[in-house]
Amino acid sequence: MRAVRVVGPDATAAVAHIASVLDGSVATVEHLDPGTPRTPPPAADTAYGLAADGSWVGVGENQSLTTLLEAVAGHDYALVAGAEARLPAVVLGDATASDILVRAESADDLDLDHVAAEIATLDPRETLESLVAVVKADPAADRAGAIATFTGRVRTRDSPDDAPTERLEFEKYEGVADERMATIERELAERDGVFAVRTHHRTGIVEAGEDIVYVVVLAGHRREAFHAVEDGIDRLKDEVPLFKKEVTVDDEFWVHERD
């Protein structure tokens, strides 16, 4: 799923225009003002309405954008209007953003083909669930009795008195890192009894408690699945040109300088 935010005076209109030219399923997230009335049942955090024809509405409280984006990760695109987020931005009018994908005066001035092309260049956001869905759809899945997964996440602290890590930042050697990961996936999938392997490593800023890397293996039986997932993460950490910077409350450093 590729996620983009749209910021500026007529962001909502721009989202509608862009959604109309994207080829694939699209989820949109509209920024709600805190005062906007909404009424989930008092005891519910999240309320959906589902009609017999499959149409539905959802309403709720205490939701973060990150969690919401994970919930829609099965879509091909997410367009987020107005909200603050670490996402590449389509910027309209006088609005500002730190990661600008496309700029335009207004929603009507957008070159939609250009926007769609720029969105296509973004790295997709994967979740554990989206990678599991991919391997389940593999042609060999009917012979697979096992799926084993590994999730690497940002550890806030190593020990009780360790200075807490606020975030990690990952830089990658574009192209080469992706090739190496594809090679690892392919070589593991060549093993007897292993049918499909998918990996994903986030780049840029990853906050404390968030996931960094996934390795997902589809196999005939559990023994091969466990071995492949272990070897997958070990090889990724050993061979893929990715570089980690750690930011704690006290300090900021490239991890290879401290090892």
Partner: protein, 86 residues
């Protein structure tokens, strides 16, 4: 001219992610590294321990590790520190 792509603290030391280094046609990787170090002493410090490249640091062409004696064929060298993904 050869482009040298830098990463992490090496890029920070140079102030750039990609730097241009002037070497004659047919020069070796080693010659390009020497020029790089002359122009960017801060990078030299991090990349070399005396005359030898520090353990774990990689010099690559098209993603493949190369020796100092290798002749430069293409136009891009990459220099990066020990990998720390995952």
């Amino acid at each position: 001219m050869v482009d040298v792509r830098l990463f992490a603290d090496l890029a920070e030391a140079a102030g750039e992610r990609v730097v241009e280094v002037e070497v004659p046609a047919g020069a070796t990787v080693g010659a390009a590294l020497e020029r790089l170090c002359e122009e960017y002493p801060a990078v030299a410090n991090r990349l070399f321990d005396g005359d030898a490249i520090r353990r774990g640091y990689t010099v690559a062409v098209d993603g493949e590790t190369v020796e100092s004696s290798t002749a430069l064929a293409g136009d891009e060298l990459a220099v990066f520190p020990p990998v720390t993904g995952g």
